[in-house]
Symmetry: none
Subunit: 216 residues, 4 copies
DNA sequence: GATGAATGAGGATTCATTCAT
DNA sequence: TATGAATGAATCCTCATTCAT
């Protein structure tokens, strides 16, 4: 699953780097064609997955000639990578809006998860694309997860400094939270939306607040 | 990620069903050849992933002729499915040994996670294969996750009845735990083994026991 | 189309020669197995055609092991040839019964066609198998047609000597009659049986008797 | 055998429909390549038959890369069908030229058969290809025969109205004529050309004119 | 820049036939 | 004889990528 997507409250650090190849469009017309191709690729990869997707189909969706694809991208892999970057930043942007430093630490996690669930439910293709990254471009996948965990870890650390969470926070705690978020997203946002995101987020949050032992 | 692998304390309910086609071997020799193919497929899929894997390579690893593959399997997809089934049951079997009903509920979860981390670290290919299932055979993938969550949920429910965990347990709690387990496995068993499984399990378990708030 | 089938009033000259290979069964049990294979082959070739037919499927229909096939036949081609021979003689046998030298020449042709239409309607697979021979074993196909035409030609010649038909009969007349018979068989016996064989035969016969010009 | 080929005096009703797939060439260059492939396929299918023919061989004959085949055709079946259509119309076109409505009914049949024999002798591959259709694409085969018989039937019917042939003409008469034509073509045009087409046609025509009974 | 034809390596799958038991 | 496992040549088809216009 997408690291970024697992932490919508991410900061704009960005992995994005559209300067991958020297094929940047030089005219307005070119810029539009390139964008049409990216949009088409998003649909194609989202619906059929990386391996089933074909360049031919992408150009057909984009309404361009097959050859035009290679005017803007070096390969199927490259457009995929460009797309993941692009989508990651969209996710991050969506998250950034919901960040407010005045929130108490665990409260912030709750809001972040709620937003994430909403976003994942609305953009399932994005979810799938970034997720499949694990098998198409493992390095990117790993980077994303690690930076996401890092952000969560930093937030928790800050909370610890403020005395809002336990002082013994370490990286593993961040991974545990990220895993919870991702799986709840898969189950309650992508596969079905039978439950209200806020409720699901509350369940996860209650674990963070007090664990699963019976209340005294 | 593999549902099964996320719950090594699984019971033997089994999704396994090796009777897929009518190509079951009828002699001992045949049984051995089929097994060689499955073993070879495990290595091939584990190392190169489903799409990069080739039948030719599988038969070469197995030391059989190309045609022999089709004596026992109908297609690349079929052997993949057979393999996932097979591996799932191995995971489940490995888990079953570690089940002891005399354990207190959350203690059982800790033991399960420890075993899972150990298993995942030793069998990284299995992890990858079952994980890639999401994009190769989504139905199986989903089934596995759901049945794994179901088992966790049932265990928690039993714990609730015994008064060992909160009474308001629901399905979402199981998904949260499964997500934690899977991601900790990815990070601390598959990607690196820099930390002791027992320690990692303890960190996760401490969340389940008391959450992340500062201890009073 | 089958030459033989086009002339059911054939004599037993026979192309049949089951001594093709040295694989003749030596025991009663062997004879039965060989026959089961021939029967199965007739169904298989009749239903699926030569190229779609498979040895595996033939042995399955016959209820024998795959390897047993090669105990009695050298190859797929050989069993096909053996089958065509076998079927040809069946056709010829069926025809022979209907031969009566006391019939007037054109009357004999009418009876022969009637019988042929009846036979073809009842044994469509035979029709197909012998017919496909053109593309599987052209030499046999050609031989069959030629010998069939030859028999018709001889009958007509005899009729000519008796003054029952024109004196200028030549080979081409026999081919013309054979063509008529075969196509009427295809249309009114194999593809549909909407018309009574005797009626169809009468129509063809009326052409032979007086042509198509208006009656004075 | 090809219905069309059995009736060279066909009208341009056409079964032809080259718009089968969306792979129509969009440039002149493409049109030429497609044509080269069709020509090569005609030779290949004509010489080796449908099942022995290979795509590789077709592209080698055409002087194109293997992949180019799939730029214009979806499969071996499809090019075969396209070819049959193409050849059928060639046959029909060849026939059309020889149609003259001022001919007396049976005279027209004689001319048609003569032309057919000439055509079949010159284009034996066409004969074989269309003929093999019975086992490759039965539906097309049947359609062709039926429409050919229909055309003959209509011509005879018109002759009947003019009083040039018997009034009791029915479909079966057309099938009988078609069968005669096809078999005479096989024997005297495809297998050998030992006899003059006009002579052979005259023999068939004499049957139509007066049957086989001795002249009074 | 845009177009679409050409390329060919690569991979899955079939199945007649052989052979050890 | 019967059995069924093993073999591998043969073939269709896909599709990312290149290139001429």
């Amino acid at each position: 699953m997408a690291p970024a997507s697992a932490d919508p409250a991410a900061d704009p650090v960005a992995v994005t780097s559209d300067k991958i190849s020297d094929k940047a469009p030089r005219t307005e017309r070119g810029r539009k064609t390139r964008q049409k191709l990216l949009d088409a690729a998003a649909s194609e990869f989202g619906e059929r997955g990386f391996h089933e997707a074909s360049i031919t189909s992408i150009t057909q969706r984009a309404g361009t000639a097959l050859g035009s694809f290679y005017t803007y991208f070096d390969s199927k892999d490259e457009i995929y990578r460009a797309l993941v970057d692009h989508l990651s930043s969209r996710v991050r942007e969506a998250a950034r809006e919901s960040r407010r430093s005045d929130l108490e630490a665990l409260e912030a996690e709750r809001v972040a998860l709620t937003n994430f669930l909403n976003f994942a439910g609305t953009h399932k293709e994005i979810y799938r694309i970034i997720d499949e990254c694990e098998f198409v471009d493992p390095a990117t996948f790993r980077t994303h997860y690690e930076s996401t965990a890092q952000r969560i870890f930093e937030r928790l650390g800050e909370g610890a400094r403020k005395g809002e969470v336990r002082a013994d926070i370490e990286e593993a705690h961040a991974w545990a939270i990220m895993g919870m978020n991702v799986f709840l997203g898969l189950r309650y946002a992508v596969w079905s939306q039978e439950r209200d995101p806020a409720e699901v987020a509350e369940i996860a949050n209650s674990i963070l607040r007090g664990g699963l032992l019976p209340r005294p």
